[in-house]
Symmetry: C2
Subunit: 311 residues, 2 copies
């Protein structure tokens, strides 16, 4: 029975939403965050109810302390700069050494580890939709690092009895998105009646998933013991092309923005449709937020926080 949970990266985008959800469900929540990309302001709804440990996952003794006595560890911590195709060896080392520290912390406490992996582990789509058996050939450093973490989980499960669940999450968007994801970029351009710039021909697509569906699924993982040891895709039910997304954003915001295809812009020409049937079978999970609803909630937040991305 899980009561006490550590969320690494709990002051980040995914982490802070997750902590809010877990507190609502009655769990005791502890956060470990270095505030490298996490923000104090992300915690304003919950700061009185949770424990906060300020520190990096690279610091083994800090991780040990943060893991002490927890029943589950949800590992969301991941440096944002990795996404920029950075060849900084130090960052790579931090990600993997840090995760290794978290793995050991979970093991020492016999805690369930929920590893937030990514559909980036699949690389280019070889068939559609992408289920969990799809070959693992990441094309981005971000995906290679997430996959390294998955393999560490598998190995330590076999060799040391680690209890783990791996969630391969699709592109998540919503309020407090640390990265300016495409939905955020389109919404900001629309709100300012600026040009909405779609890279390539706009037919590339993604399974964008609202953060509220992400937190719902993770909370369900904690209450279903049978899910231990599984690898599960976590996504919405549908994909959307960039052009459709731009139109929907313009429609929702009532913007006068022009949508323009930048045909020569470099684009990852992938049509990523994720198969989420396995997680639905295990968890009785159903994505509840349509793309329209998710965009609506996100734009409301953007209007209230116009300076979020200029800080």
């Amino acid at each position: 029975m899980i009561k006490k949970i550590l969320v690494t990266g709990g002051a980040g985008f995914l982490g802070s939403h997750l902590c809010e959800k877990l507190l609502t469900e009655g769990y005791q929540v502890r956060i470990l965050d270095s505030f490298a990309s996490g923000r104090e302001s992300n915690l304003k709804n919950i700061q009185k109810n949770m424990q906060l440990v300020r520190g990096s996952i690279s610091d083994e003794s800090m991780v040990n302390e943060a893991c002490c006595g927890v029943d589950a560890v949800i590992h969301t911590a991941f440096p944002m700069t990795i996404r920029e195709r950075d060849l900084n060896s130090g960052l790579v080392s931090d990600v993997l050494t840090g995760f290794f520290n978290v793995l050991k912390g979970a093991l020492n406490n016999n805690a369930l580890l929920v590893y937030i992996s990514s559909i980036a582990v699949y690389g280019n789509q070889l068939y559609t939709p992408i289920d969990e058996r799809h070959p693992l050939e990441p094309v981005l450093l971000h995906g290679a690092l997430k996959l390294s973490g998955e393999n560490f989980c598998r190995v330590l499960t076999k060799s040391h009895g680690l209890r783990a669940v791996i969630l391969r999450v699709a592109d998540i968007y919503g309020p407090r998105n640390t990265r300016i994801s495409v939905p955020i970029r389109f919404l900001r351009q629309s709100l300012k009646n600026e040009l909405i710039s779609v890279y390539g021909d706009g037919t590339q697509s993604r399974t964008y998933t609202y953060v509220g569906d992400f937190t719902d699924a993770v909370a369900k993982v904690l209450s279903v013991p049978a899910v231990e040891g599984e690898i599960l895709n976590l996504s919405a039910d549908w994909s959307i092309s960039m052009y459709e997304l731009a139109q929907m954003v313009r429609d929702i915001t009532g913007s006068k923005s022009e949508i323009r295809m930048l045909k020569d812009a470099p684009v990852e020409d992938r049509k990523l449709l994720i198969d989420n049937r396995k997680i639905k079978q295990f968890l009785d999970f159903k994505p509840m937020f349509s793309m329209r609803q998710g965009l609506f909630l996100t734009v409301e937040w953007l209007k209230e926080n116009p300076d979020f991305y200029s800080v």
Copy 2:
């Protein structure tokens, strides 16, 4: 046209044999080794002919210096202690940060990177023989780390134009084997007329490959440009069970040792047969050393170096 080659871990088992081969073939050879598990004595046949850089792959500036001006980098460096299922985060960090430094060094010099990976990336055999399309589900930390390196190679090939060849090598044995591999253990027990202890029922098998076939294949990789970008298994043509190996060793050494199955001993009950057809097609490579020949050469060396494993 490759002339100048850096061999990381060049004072180790694989590395030192490789350097001997490359010098014979007329290449200029530079070694980077920290001597954590590499040995000065491994270089005694070649020390006059090569350049030696003493340092760790974890040291970025050292790696940059060692990579300067080379046409190819052969990455054999790997800490021996990882094989012991060690959960030392520092070692994990060294392996991956170190490899990242080597990747950057190769990129900076537009050098071909030959990454010495391992069949450990496959994990348990799901079908036989194991070809390069076999699922990648390592069960040992050693395999997970080798696989992380492969994924870094793939990513940097796509994003930064890295030129790489990945060799998944089978269990290599021979003179100067750093680890006391099973052939070495059996040979030593036989030479002392001690009990030859076979773990389990002795039916588990491996594709043991003599180090001379390993060096032959790597040298061929350097002379065949078409191999760039490929992932290739590197192994002998046959597998041998532990019981057969024990018998062959006793026969070759003329030993009076008794062979005894330790049925209750923990054993990795795998029958690993590796499919080496792809490398043969690409390289016109053919393993030349029978198991008998390889064991004979190894035992001759052991007799001449009785103290190698007691240092």
